[in-house]
C-alpha cells in the first residue's frame, strides 16, 4: 500500500484524537460556566483569563491523585473497564465527516478518518459495544452500588439502542445511502430535520439516554446508588470515565448534526452564496475552495446541541427508573416504528405520485408525536400510574 496513505491516516487520526481531547477539556469548562449562568453563579473564573485554563488544572489534579484498587475487585477487568469505555467513544468519531474533501499536495484528502460505505451501521455497532465498559466497571468493582449502576446502564442502553437504530433507518431512507458523506451531501437542498423532524427529536432523546446524560443518568444517580458504576474508581481511571462521557456527548451531537442537520453543510438556502462549502473564494489572484467552512459549521452546530444538553441538565429532574423503561419501550419504540413507516410511505408517494407528497411525512409524524405526548400526559395524570 501507498505509504503516503498511511501517513494521511495517521495524521488525521492524531488530529481527531487531539481535537476530541481538547474538546473534552473545554466542554467541561463550557458546561460549568453555562450551568453557572443558568443558576446565577459565576462558575470557574480564576485559572487563566475567564477560567479558560481550568480544565488543565483539573487534569493535573486527577493525574496526581492516588489510585485505589479495592481488595476484592476483579483486577484485570477493573483495569480494562475504563479503557473499554474510552476506546469506543473515540473510534466512533472516525466515520464522521468534518468537511468536504480538500485538494492538497496533488491529492484529494477526505475530512474523515474513514469514509466507509456502511458508516451508519458502524455507528450503530460501536454504540452497542460502548456499554461493556460501564457494565464491567460495575461488576468488577465488587460493590453492590457499582453493580446496580452497571445493571441499570446495560438495561437502559439496550432498550434505547432499538430506538436509536430506527432513527438511523430514517436517515438512511432519506439519504438513500449508508455512507455518512452521501447522507450529508443529500441534505444539500433540504436538511432532513425539515423532512422528518420527529426523527431528529427521537434520535436526540435516544442518544442522550445512550450516553447516560441527564435526565437519563440512572447509572450514576448519586442520591440512590452513590456514584454508580464508577464508585470505586479514583485518579486517572476515574478521569477516563469522565473523559469518555464528555467525548460521547461531543460525538453524539456530531452524529445528530450529520444525520439530520446537514452535517458540515451550510443552511440549505445559502447553498449558492459564498458561504457554501462548495464555493470558491478568490482574493486577488489567489483562490481556494471553501473547505475550511465545513469544520467551522460543524463546530457551531455541535456547540449548539451541547448547549441544549447542558440546558436540559440544568432544568429537568432525573426521570424515575421504571418510567425510563416504560418511556423507552411503550412510547419511544412504537413511535419510532410509526415514524419509519410514515417516512417510507412518504418517500414512495413522492417518487410514484408527486414530489410534494414528501411533506406528508413531517405532518403525519408530528401528529403522531403530538398524539404520543398527549397519551403520556394523560397516563401521568392518572394517580394509579405512580
Amino acid at each position: 500500500m501507498d505509504w503516503t496513505l498511511w501517513l494521511e491516516w495517521a495524521i488525521k487520526s492524531l488530529i481527531l484524537i487531539f481535537t476530541l481531547l481538547i474538546g473534552f477539556g473545554y466542554l467541561t469548562y463550557y458546561e460549568r460556566r453555562f450551568l453557572a449562568l443558568l443558576q446565577s453563579r459565576l462558575g470557574p473564573n480564576r485559572a487563566g483569563p475567564q477560567g479558560l485554563m481550568q480544565w488543565m488544572a483539573d487534569a493535573v489534579k486527577l493525574i496526581f491523585k492516588e489510585e485505589l484498587t479495592p481488595a476484592s475487585a476483579y483486577k484485570l477487568v477493573f483495569f480494562l473497564a475504563p479503557v473499554l469505555t474510552m476506546v469506543p467513544s473515540i473510534v466512533i468519531a472516525a466515520v464522521i465527516p468534518w468537511g468536504p474533501p480538500i485538494e492538497m499536495f496533488g491529492r484529494t484528502i477526505t475530512q474523515s478518518v474513514a469514509d466507509i460505505n456502511v458508516g451508519v451501521l458502524f455507528l450503530m455497532s460501536i454504540a452497542s459495544i460502548a456499554v461493556y465498559g460501564i457494565v464491567l466497571a460495575g461488576w468488577s468493582s465488587n460493590n453492590k452500588y457499582a453493580m446496580m449502576g452497571g445493571l441499570r446502564s446495560s438495561a437502559q442502553m439496550i432498550s434505547y439502542e432499538l430506538t436509536l437504530g430506527l432513527a438511523f433507518v430514517v436517515a438512511i431512507l432519506l439519504g438513500n445511502s449508508m455512507s455518512l458523506v452521501e447522507i450529508v451531501e443529500a441534505q444539500k437542498d433540504m436538511w432532513f430535520v425539515a423532512v422528518q423532524p420527529l426523527g431528529a427529536i427521537i434520535l436526540w432523546i435516544a442518544t442522550v439516554a445512550e450516553v447516560n446524560r441527564h435526565p437519563f443518568d440512572m447509572p450514576e444517580a448519586e442520591q440512590e446508588i452513590v456514584a454508580g458504576y464508577h464508585t470505586e474508581y479514583s485518579g486517572m481511571k476515574f478521569a477516563l470515565f469522565f473523559m469518555a462521557e464528555y467525548q460521547k456527548m461531543i460525538v453524539v451531537s456530531a452524529i445528530l448534526v450529520t444525520l439530520f442537520f446537514g452535517g458540515y453543510r451550510e443552511f440549505w438556502f445559502l447553498k449558492d452564496t459564498f458561504l457554501s462549502v462548495d464555493a470558491v473564494w478568490r482574493i486577488g489572484s489567489w483562490q481556494t475552495s471553501a473547505w475550511f467552512l465545513g469544520p467551522i459549521y460543524m463546530f457551531f452546530k455541535i456547540a449548539f446541541f451541547l448547549g441544549v444538553m447542558i440546558w436540559v441538565r440544568a432544568s429537568w429532574p432525573r426521570i424515575r427508573y421504571h418510567r425510563l423503561m416504560d418511556f423507552g419501550w411503550k412510547v419511544l419504540l412504537p413511535l419510532a416504528v410509526v415514524m419509519v413507516f410514515i417516512t417510507a410511505v412518504g418517500i414512495l408517494l413522492a417518487q410514484e405520485v408527486h414530489p410534494l407528497l414528501i411533506w406528508l411525512s413531517p405532518i403525519l409524524s408530528l401528529l403522531a408525536g403530538w398524539f404520543a405526548s398527549l397519551m403520556v400526559d394523560r397516563s401521568l395524570r392518572r394517580k394509579a400510574y405512580a
Partner: protein, 174 residues
C-alpha cells in the same frame, strides 16, 4: 503471502483461542467476555469476505445486544461462580457422541465440497450498499419467507414464555 491471508491466520488463532478460553474459564463473566472476542473476530472474517453489512450486524446483534443480556443475567443472578452442580448420569457420553457427530458432519461437508469452494468468487464490495440491503430484504421476504416467519414465531413464543414464567398471579405472594 498476501495481507489478507496473514490477517486470516492471526484472527483464526485468536478466534480459536477465545473459544477455548470460553470453555475453560471458571468464571461465567470471563466466559462471556471470551465469547465476545470470538464474535468480534468472526465479524472481521465477514469483512475479509467482502460482506460489511453482515459484519456490522454481527457486532451489533451478537456482541452488542445478546452478550450484554447474557452478562446482565449472569450478574443479576450472581451466577458467575456457581459450584459445579450435579451432572446427569448420561450427560457426558451423550455430549461426546453429539460432538463426534458434529465433527463428522462438518468434515464430510468440507471434504465433499472442497472443489466447489475454490470456485466461489469473492463478491466485489458494493459501492451502493443500500442496493445490497434491498436485495437482502427481497431474498429474505420472498425466497426465505417461511424460515423467516418460523423464526419470528419461535422468538415470539420464547418471549411470551419468559413473561408467563415471571408474571405474578393475583394474590400470589412475591
Amino acid at each position: 503471502m498476501s495481507v489478507d491471508l496473514i490477517l486470516f491466520f492471526v484472527l483464526a488463532l485468536v478466534a480459536v483461542a477465545a473459544a477455548i478460553g470460553m470453555l475453560l474459564s471458571q468464571n461465567a463473566v470471563y466466559s462471556a467476555l471470551f465469547l465476545v472476542i470470538n464474535f468480534a473476530t468472526v465479524a472481521v472474517f465477514y469483512l475479509l469476505l467482502g460482506a460489511p453489512f453482515i459484519a456490522m450486524a454481527q457486532i451489533t446483534v451478537y456482541a452488542g445486544a445478546i452478550m450484554v443480556l447474557f452478562l446482565f443475567v449472569i450478574m443479576l443472578l450472581g451466577a458467575e461462580k456457581l459450584a459445579p452442580g450435579k451432572v446427569l448420569p448420561y450427560q457426558r457420553p451423550l455430549a461426546i457422541g453429539l460432538a463426534v457427530l458434529l465433527v463428522a458432519e462438518a468434515a464430510y461437508l468440507l471434504l465433499s465440497r472442497v472443489q466447489s469452494v475454490a470456485a466461489i468468487v469473492t463478491p466485489t464490495v458494493e459501492t451502493n450498499t443500500v442496493e445490497e440491503i434491498r436485495r437482502l430484504g427481497m431474498a429474505l421476504f420472498s425466497d426465505y419467507l417461511l424460515p423467516f416467519e418460523v423464526t419470528s414465531v419461535v422468538l415470539l413464543v420464547a418471549m411470551v414464555g419468559a413473561i408467563v414464567l415471571t408474571i405474578r398471579e393475583k394474590g400470589e405472594q412475591g
